[in-house]
């Protein structure tokens, strides 16, 4: 049983089809057709909806965007689902809607509901957002007509003059309704879509359905459904596993629960490692980051996933659990082959522990793709170097897009130790090693030759950017 608020109305759904997406539920079951299907793959944002959930303190609502085309109904449990039809207050358009009209932000109009929802979420989460905040908030929405300028203007204008809307006015009632939903015992177990809430229940669910995939954010798994037309018999959702959604830090490191949405995980990691902002801004789009999880990205073990190289370069530890005992696997031992990991049957990822930053550490994560926003990496390179008194004392790396697995480069790490960082040899040696280190493939994103060349050149960039007093410009886009 999935319980949520459809705008203001409580909904209780017996999910007979675990493959039902939120988009299909809205369009086919509810006949709410304002939310559109553009790609059914989370790449265009025409289907963007907002889910509101109680903040950690429980006294306010937090509004996040998700792509309803790749969200399963389990993701709505205990939340309020808001769609484009819900924003207007009787005849009065919501400020973000009115601003879109006023700034001529719609042409064909098909992407418009998605943009409106992304702008609505920003309206509720940012005070006085700047252009770059708007770009980030709307990074998952494609428009083929306008060229975006009027949409940016409309969003800036609406958010600059923010006044309380009906959602603010109804906040306490909504919180009450959500609290009531939450009190209706734990969600009843359904035979097709399991939503265990405890370690014991998860273990039992896996034991009873050994072939059922675990699903957290569903941003990748849902593609099997929408793109390959695979119909899963049964899915085990981790959406209610509170224990997998914790974030903490201590002298052992930064511990991020496997089912923590990437947008939250990233916020924490950026506090410790500010240079990661660039990677995390370019990781997919905001709605995908709101939905996808760190554990999912790691368990997927895709050679073009953007966090595995980071785990490798930072020597992160992956803590896995089978319901009886936890074990710790170093990132470098986790990725065994193409989409193959060290996870055993019955195990799931509990959390990932990143080490704390150390003195004189230089960390950079570079992403190369055809498009800056919301693209899959052609090459991802993470360099983590400690330089003490001008001498390299520690090097670790992680790369994506250059091999069948996320991978690091041991020869580079060995060659640079004890080198004088200022020496141009550091640059040329690293460049040489990296250009020849891997045998990437030609594919739709890039040729092997480009991948090799760029990998070497990214080392050049890293070397240059981390020289003391470097004054040479190295970027066409900066993510401050």
């Amino acid at each position: 049983m999935v319980r949520f608020l459809l705008n203001n109305e409580p909904v209780e759904l017996q999910v007979n089809d675990p493959n039902m997406t939120v988009l299909r539920f809205l369009r086919e079951r509810q006949r709410k057709t304002g939310t559109k299907e553009g790609c059914a793959a989370g790449d265009c944002g025409a289907c963007t909806v907002v889910v509101a959930s109680p903040s950690d303190e429980g006294n306010s609502l937090s509004y996040t965007t998700i792509n309803s085309c790749i969200a399963l109904l389990s993701s709505l449990q205990g939340k309020q689902l808001i769609t484009v039809e819900d924003l207007a207050d009787k005849q009065a358009l919501h400020p973000v809607q009115a601003s879109m009209v006023e700034h001529h932000g719609s042409q064909c109009g098909f992407c418009t509901p998605g943009f409106v929802m992304s702008a609505f979420a920003l309206y509720h989460t940012a005070s006085n957002p700047q252009r770059e905040d708007v770009v980030d908030a709307l990074s998952g929405n494609l428009c083929r007509c306008t060229g975006y300028r009027p949409i940016i203007d409309a969003t800036l204008s609406a958010c600059a003059d923010k006044t309380d809307d009906k959602f603010d006015a109804q906040q306490s009632q909504t919180l009450e309704k959500l609290a009531t939903l939450a009190q209706q015992s734990t969600p009843a177990v359904n035979a097709k879509l399991l939503m265990p809430a405890t370690r014991v229940a998860l273990k039992a669910a896996i034991a009873a359905n050994p072939d059922a995939p675990l699903v957290a954010g569903s941003t990748d798994l849902a593609l099997e459904i929408t793109q390959k037309n695979i119909q899963f018999e049964c899915l085990i959702s981790l959406s209610q596993m509170a224990a997998l959604k914790t974030i903490s830090s201590d002298d052992q490191g930064i511990h991020i629960g496997a089912a923590v949405p990437l947008s939250q995980a990233m916020e924490t990691l950026i506090q410790f490692y500010p240079s990661l902002k660039e990677l995390f801004t370019r990781f997919a789009s905001l709605p995908v980051r709101n939905q996808a999880t760190l554990g999912g990205n790691v368990a997927n073990a895709s050679p073009i996933g953007d966090t595995p190289p980071l785990l490798l370069a930072l020597n992160a530890q992956i803590i896995v659990d089978d319901g009886n005992a936890e074990r710790m696997i170093a990132a470098k031992d986790f990725f065994l082959g193409y989409r193959k990991t060290a996870l055993k049957a019955g195990e799931w990822i509990n959390r990932i522990t990143f080490p704390l930053p150390v003195a004189n550490q230089h960390l950079a994560a570079y992403k190369i793709s055809k498009r800056m926003e919301d693209d899959i990496s052609a090459v991802l390179a993470v360099f983590n170097v400690v330089i003490e008194d001008g001498v390299v004392s520690k090097v670790s790396t992680g790369f994506g897009g250059v091999a069948a697995t996320p991978i690091h480069c041991a020869p580079l790490e060995q060659a640079l130790i004890n080198q004088n960082w200022q020496d141009a040899a550091c640059k040329t040696t690293g460049k040489q090693i990296l250009t020849d280190a891997f045998s990437p493939i030609d594919d739709v994103r890039a040729t092997a030759a480009y991948r090799k060349q760029v990998l070497g050149n990214l080392w050049h960039r890293f070397w240059l950017e981390n020289q003391a007093n470097n004054a040479i410009e190295t970027r066409v886009v900066t993510h401050a």
């Binding site: 553009g38 059914a40 992407c111 509901p113 975006y148 919301d374 050149n457």
Partner: protein, 785 residues
């Protein structure tokens, strides 16, 4: 006939009248419904109770003879209602728009990878898609034609080669002081309308059929549906309220899905919806034609072109579709705004084993025009001049020459003045110096700047398409319904039409309802394409208004017993001399006086003709002009780049709606930028499209919009008698984006101190830019820091 007060350009120009809605920033007529999710697209319409859904079975090779199709597993799959192949089509099986060659489903031969072979009807979309995957198509080995070179070697053409100009040009080139030759691969482009292809067919009495479709060409859908059903056109009605984007992709290639839905609807007596999932849509519909162009030009010491010998090779895919006219338009635009002297232009239409490439904003024009700009860059680098200087010298004009390669007099070329204004407003030459200085001191990041013009011919080059019809009803409360042959795909056509009708009757646009485009209201319409929507349909609507106004004036003058001289509709009133009547009262009086309150209107474009035998004529009613300056930064380590700043001055004549026109200019520019930068179509060695979804084919995202983008309208009424002397705006701004490509080349050229014109095929992805950077570094012996 009583005479109406005519509005003329100049002092009394209607766009400057205070109470007229013309020239005002009216919001898109559907804006409120769009932002609130109320605007209905085909897939949003309430479905009839009895409905089935279609999925397609497609080929997994690019060529070969079909030996067998085993559909048993498909038929036995859950929820399947019906399965059809081409042999189940009751009427015509060829749905080609102009020339033969587009089977509705594959017939004997597979023509491209992913060609639809059979169609499945099932109770749900999921069941249909699941069933469609279960067919087994056996195809004998074929030998696909996958390159332009291969097609040229095989003399494989979809249409005969066309030639413009004189062969004497070849000698003229050789006799000039300087010669330059070059070639360029120009990539294609996926339309990526956000709303994919979709049609719903609802069977009506006997063999009558109702079609709801997302199409730029409802009349053609009507014709083809009637033909595949084996019935006459008057039994088929097509309704088209709005598209979620078209861009040319729904001109000829929306019909197939309507035809398949109609056949299944008729066979099974139930409503049928055919909606393509994105990756299928991208695989089975044609794209902007990739071109491979080459040229040889001769020019003097000043860089003035004396002669040009140009060949454009359009990769048309497996059939002609609209390719004949598309390659023509590429040929018509290889001059852009420049006088080429003695010229010879050859256009090949190559038949290859790809999906049949089709109309796309600019319709071949961009692929031709980029040749002109490549030639200008080439001359400039060879002579060591700034490319803008060379561009200015070669512009059409009384002293340079004013006749195009196809013998059309350009008339008054706006480009010299427009360029001069943009040079000033964009501070071009100061920035040129700043950038050159920056590049000297910045080893990794290089900046580039380029200003390029656009001269784009307006009219369908197929002469008969330059006609339009309209139908207007005035109801007894004074509200007005307007119907016309154009379709709304976001471009604001209906908004402009409402402004036109409101202006004519002196009422507010709130009292004008532009209804869905329907083949039972206005027949035999042309596609909404070639930027012509407002030009053609606006005039037809105006003519319908004039007919009605004349009736009303005649009636009211007679009632008042006065002459109708000086009658005018303004501020919801008809005024004749001292007599004034409110519009609703007039309508009620006219109704009681038994005056018809409904009229058609019709328009055909004057002056145009083209003689294919001689390759000469006046294919265009007029030209629309524009100029853009783009500044970019490139990263010489990765090939990544950023478009930093864009300044545009664009000519829309007397703008009917500046907000909508600016929207078309900005949107066209960004779409053109995508074509030239990140949008890369990739096919594998078997002819399979591998960039077949939004994860692998990257249109510009919000962060790609330049932080600084200044767009101004060049305010000068059209010299020709177009609707209120406005100009078409749909396609011309697309080509302003060529300035981005030239700016990227400018940045790369800085690596060799601007002595070499870099080779930069399009789309100029970061990888292509890095290739060009490395080639330049190798040549100049330079290297990054």
């Amino acid at each position: 006939m009583r005479k109406l007060v005519q509005t003329l350009p100049g002092i009394d120009h209607p766009t400057r009248q205070q109470n007229s809605p013309l020239g005002k920033d009216k919001s898109h007529e559907s804006a409120v419904r769009q932002v609130s999710g109320q605007a209905r697209y085909v897939d949003d319409m309430p479905e009839p109770a009895n409905i089935g859904y279609v999925a397609l079975g497609t080929s997994e090779c690019a060529a070969g003879k079909i030996e067998s199709i085993d559909l048993d597993a498909v038929r036995n799959s859950d929820g399947v209602i019906d399965v059809i192949t081409i042999h189940d089509i009751p009427g015509h099986t060829d749905i080609a728009p102009v020339f033969d060659g587009d089977p509705v489903l594959a017939e004997n031969d597979i023509l491209f990878y992913g060609q639809p072979v059979y169609a499945v009807l099932a109770n749900t979309t999921e069941q249909a898609r699941s069933a469609a995957a279960k067919g087994v198509i056996t195809v004998s080995d074929g030998s696909p034609t996958l390159t332009v070179d291969d097609a040229l070697a095989k003399q494989s053409f979809v249409r005969p080669t066309h030639v413009i100009g004189n062969e004497s040009a070849i000698e003229t080139v050789s006799g000039a002081a300087h010669q330059l030759s070059g070639s360029l691969f120009v990539g294609g482009q996926e339309h990526m309308y956000l709303e994919g292809q979709v049609s719903m067919a609802i069977p009506e009495e006997e063999d009558r059929m109702m079609i709801y479709t997302s199409s730029q060409h409802p009349s053609e859908v009507q014709k083809l549906v009637a033909e595949v059903l084996g019935t006459k056109l008057h039994r088929v009605t097509v309704d088209m309220r709005r598209m979620g984007g078209g861009f040319g992709g729904k001109e000829s290639q929306a019909a197939q899905w309507a035809c398949i839905a109609a056949v299944l609807a008729q066979r099974n007596g139930l409503a049928v919806k055919c909606r393509l999932p994105r990756s299928l849509d991208m695989s089975v519909t044609g794209k902007r034609h990739p071109f491979e162009n080459s040229w040889r030009i001769g020019f003097d010491e000043n860089g003035m072109i004396q002669g040009a010998d140009i060949t454009v090779n359009g990769n048309c895919g497996y059939s002609a579709d609209l390719s004949d006219a598309i390659v023509d338009r590429a040929m018509f635009h290889v001059d852009n705004g420049y006088f080429l002297g003695d010229s010879h232009v050859v256009g090949h239409r190559l038949k290859t084993s790809y999906v049949s490439h089709t109309a796309y904003r600019g319709f071949g024009g961009p692929q031709g025009m980029i040749v002109a700009e490549a030639m200008m860059d080439g001359i400039a680098r060879k002579l060591g001049e700034d490319p803008l200087t060379i561009r200015k010298r070669n512009l059409y004009g009384e002293t340079t020459g004013n006749t195009t390669p196809y013998g059309m007099d350009v008339g008054f070329n706006l480009l010299p003045d427009m360029i001069s204004k943009l040079e000033a407003s964009a501070d071009f030459w100061q920035r040129r110096e700043t950038i050159t200085a920056f590049n000297k001191s910045s080893p990794i990041i290089k900046k580039g700047l380029a200003m390029t013009p656009v001269k784009f011919g307006i009219s369908f080059t197929a002469k008969h398409l330059n006609q339009a019809g309209a139908l207007i009803h005035i109801y007894t409360d004074g509200s007005i319904q307007v119907n016309h042959g154009g379709t709304e795909m976001g471009q604001g056509l209906h908004t402009k039409i409402a402004q036109i009708a409101a202006h004519e009757f002196g009422v507010d646009t709130a009292d004008i309802e532009v209804t869905s485009t329907r083949t039972d209201k206005v027949p035999n319409t042309s596609p909404t394409a070639a930027s012509s929507g407002t030009d053609l349909n606006g005039k037809a609507v105006q003519n319908a208004c004039i007919t009605l106004k004349e009736r009303l004036i005649e009636f009211w003058a007679a009632e008042c017993g006065v002459s109708s001289d000086g009658a005018k509709f303004e501020n919801y009133q008809l005024t004749i001399g001292e007599h004034t009547i409110d519009f609703p009262a007039l309508i009620q009086a006219a109704y009681l006086g038994r005056i018809s309150l409904s009229s058609t209107g019709y328009y055909r474009t004057p002056k145009i003709y083209y003689d294919r035998e001689t390759g000469t004529g006046r294919p265009f009613f007029y030209f629309a002009y524009g100029v853009a300056a783009s500044e970019v930064s490139i990263d010489t380590l990765t090939g990544e780049y950023k478009v930093e700043k864009v300044d545009i001055l664009h000519d829309v004549g007397a703008s009917l709606n500046p907000a909508i026109d600016v929207g078309q200019i900005e949107g066209g520019f960004i779409q053109g930028m995508g074509w030239l930068t990140s949008e890369e179509l990739k096919w594998d060695d078997h002819g399979r499209l591998t960039s077949n979804n939004m994860a692998t084919y990257k249109i510009p995202a919000i962060g790609d919009t330049p932080a600084e983008m200044n767009v101004s309208l060049y305010r000068r009424p059209n010299d020709e008698d177009s609707i209120y002397h406005s100009k078409a705006v749909g396609e011309p701004p697309f080509m302003l984006a060529i300035s981005v490509w030239c700016a990227l080349k400018d940045a790369i050229a800085s690596l060799d101190d601007y002595q070499t014109d870099p080779y930069l095929p399009t789309p100029a992805t970061p990888e292509k830019v890095l290739d060009a950077v490395m080639a330049m570094q190798a040549k100049s012996g330079s290297n990054a820091a």
